[in-house]
């Protein structure tokens, strides 16, 4: 005689999906079956965008770095390359990110603090001195002032004799998510989207191997969105950019293949893997639905690493373990590039030691764990395929709530309010112990000052940067700068005309060593500044 079953504890994912204690063929059939999965490298790419995925080439490892001046950043770049990084991910300081020069009074105390300070082309030239731009892909985490940094990168490459058509790299340049999370907006929503459009069109024409936009579900999730909203909002934002550029006369297949994505990983392992598989399948259908016939345009190319939001301030060494699981999830999900958060990130900019542990974590996966042997190893699992079906349906439903209106919803602050409300609910659930977090609300320990080394901000470096800028201003051709800035102003004030972009004018300005702050000021005069809706 068997005893009656004890009631099982409920298991509900962040997306709201109730997990069954056992999955079998009938459960998968009920969720929609596996007919829609397809083969790797074939539409709809559920299992991966390439036929052989990591077996042909492992994921790119790209750690986020950059601080202080160009000289210090170059040293860190060389260190990362020497240790096996195959891509660079450049962090910029906040003044650079919002278009202020290092000598602006508002920049005081922030110069070189959370990334590299770039005022003029001279800074970028110094940071990349001695680094072969054809041998490495450079990703720049810049949004509000992304068009200016892209112009600088192109100007630098051209001066050094590179063919722009061979340059590879990624610009984050997702301004819509900056209004929702992260906050480095400058101009109002409409001209901001236009500027993204300008970079997409310019790259389609001149830098065909460069990725002009990395649409970020990541930051929206970090601000409080659940995994379904992360994908839904990212796809809606990417759709808004596509519609804008198509509206300016380009065919979707002229540029969509160069759009990429940046997603978050923390939380339930299976939910994350299914999120990426569902996302890959849905994105392919969405792009095809917009008239694309080129498979590359339909690929959901992504960078996904650990999300800082999953890390804890408590017992920071636990974050090394979390980071390893996030890397495992990322590899099981078939992402193209991995950038892991470092264990000390809840406190500080990652130290060299922490950044190296993250890098080694990824290398261990490649070299020791067999993650690169076969494609989509969880494919065919009754549970994972069921979740993939369920998540795809939920992402579609979340997008339907937005209608065509993501841009309006962001301008009015509605997405921001939804995400902030969820962040509050999440924090409350965490503090009341309804969501379990090791070291935070269970298995806690009395902790003194945690044993992490802090990244130290160098005030002297900030002063040197201000001096550098003054020196560049003193030796550049002032008349050429004025002329170039005048051209940027005139073109920014004109109505948007099809495929014409501001990029040639901005490249002329940066080549004359006009500064980020000067160019931004000219654009701000033409377009105004974003007024943040602050209602909670």
């Amino acid at each position: 005689m068997s005893k009656p079953d004890k009631p099982l504890r409920p298991a509900v994912l962040e997306s709201g999906i109730e997990v069954k204690p056992v999955y079998g063929p009938a459960d998968l059939a009920e969720s929609g079956g596996a007919q829609g999965v397809g083969a790797p490298g074939e539409f709809p790419f559920t299992r991966g965008i390439h036929r052989h995925m990591y077996r042909a080439r492992p994921f790119t490892m790209r750690q986020y770095s950059g601080f202080g001046t160009a000289t210090e950043t170059r040293e860190r770049f060389r260190y990362l390359i020497a240790n096996g990084n195959t891509g660079l991910n450049v962090a910029f300081d906040l003044p650079t990110q919002i278009g202020l020069d290092s000598d602006d009074p508002l920049a005081e105390g922030e110069v070189g603090r959370v990334g590299m300070a770039v005022d003029t082309l001279a800074d970028l030239e110094e940071a990349f001195d001695g680094i072969d731009l054809d041998a490495i892909t450079v990703s720049m985490t810049i949004n509000g002032s992304a068009a200016i940094l892209l112009a600088m990168y192109a100007a630098m490459a051209r001066k050094r004799g590179y063919d722009l058509r061979s340059l590879r790299g990624t610009l984050q340049n997702d301004i819509l998510k900056e209004f929702v999370a992260r906050g480095t907006w400058i101009f109002p929503v409409e001209p901001s989207v236009r500027l993204v459009g300008d970079t997409v069109i310019y790259c389609a024409q001149e830098l065909p191997r460069y990725s002009p936009v990395s649409v970020c579900g990541y930051h929206i999730r970090e601000a409080g969105a659940n995994p379904v909203q992360e994908m839904a909002y990212a796809f809606a934002i990417a759709g808004a950019y596509i519609d804008h550029v198509v509206g300016r006369g380009l065919d979707i297949d002229e540029f969509a293949a160069r759009l990429s994505f940046n997603f978050d990983i923390h939380g339930n392992l299976f939910e994350q893997v299914a999120k990426f598989r569902a996302g890959r399948r849905l994105w392919a259908k969405l792009v095809e639905g917009r008239g694309s016939t080129k498979p590359e345009s339909q690929h959901l190319r992504m960078i996904a690493g650990g999300g800082g939001g999953g890390l804890t301030r408590e017992q920071p060494e636990n974050n090394i373990v979390r980071g390893a699981y996030y890397a495992l999830i990322s590899a099981l999900s078939g992402t193209q590039t991995m950038a892991l958060c470092s264990y000390d990130e809840a406190y500080t900019i990652p130290t060299e030691k922490a950044a190296k542990i993250s890098l080694r974590t990824m290398q261990i996966l490649i070299e020791e764990m067999g993650l690169c042997d076969t494609v989509d190893p969880l494919g065919g699992s009754w549970y994972v395929e069921s979740l993939t079906n369920d998540l795809e349906r939920r992402i579609v439903a979340e997008m339907a709530k937005l209608g065509d209106g993501i841009v309006g919803a962001i301008a009015e602050g509605r997405i921001q309010a939804t995400v902030a409300r969820q962040a509050f609910e999440h924090e409350r659930a965490l503090q009341e112990g309804r969501i379990r977090k090791v070291g935070v609300n269970c298995f806690t320990e009395a902790e003194e000052e945690p044993d992490v080394q802090f990244h130290v901000h160098d005030g002297a470096a900030a002063r040197r940067q201000v001096e550098r800028l003054a020196a560049v201003r003193a030796r550049r051709d002032g008349a050429a700068v004025e002329r170039a800035l005048g051209r940027v102003a005139a073109e920014a004030e004109r109505p948007v005309r099809g495929r014409e972009t501001l990029m040639p004018a901005i490249i002329e300005a940066v080549s004359a060593y006009a500064s980020v702050g000067e160019i931004t000021a000219v654009l701000r005069r033409a377009w105004g500044t974003f007024k943040e809706p602050v209602a909670l």
């Binding site: 906040l94 503090q431 909670l536």
Partner: protein, 129 residues
């Protein structure tokens, strides 16, 4: 008496999840909360504190520039003749707490602080006044 709180984001840092969570927690705890939005200068924060007649100012800083920003805001509040307590929250290492307190910060609530503790502290300020 209802405590009026100004939650402010000084400097250029755009990470406002914490500020918005604390603002909502204080509202839920019965405080009247005014949130400034991002990129406030010390002068703007002091003006908002005066115009909104708040009893306490909470600053949220995650970029590492907490020492500079707290000093500047406290200076601006004093210059405006306001004697309201200033709280600091965000990514603030324990070793900086004493320095912040010497600079005039009434209390530091680093990342991970209990929302209930923040609300209790703020409501206590109302009773004291």
């Amino acid at each position: 008496m209802t405590v009026r709180v100004l939650v402010a984001k000084p400097g250029l840092d755009g990470h406002d999840r914490g500020a918005k969570v604390v603002a909502q927690a204080l509202s839920a705890a019965g405080c009247e909360v005014v949130y400034t939005g991002l990129r406030q200068t010390a002068a703007q924060i002091a003006r908002a504190a005066r115009d909104e007649a708040v009893d306490v100012v909470g600053l949220s800083i995650l970029s590492g520039s907490h020492l500079e920003h707290c000093r500047r805001v406290i200076e601006a509040l004093r210059a405006a003749g306001l004697e309201v307590p200033v709280l600091a929250g965000g990514c603030i290492p324990a070793r900086d707490v004493a320095t912040l307190e010497e600079a005039g910060v009434a209390r530091v609530f680093p990342t991970g602080s209990s929302l209930a503790a923040i609300a209790d502290y703020v409501r206590g300020l109302g009773r004291a006044a």
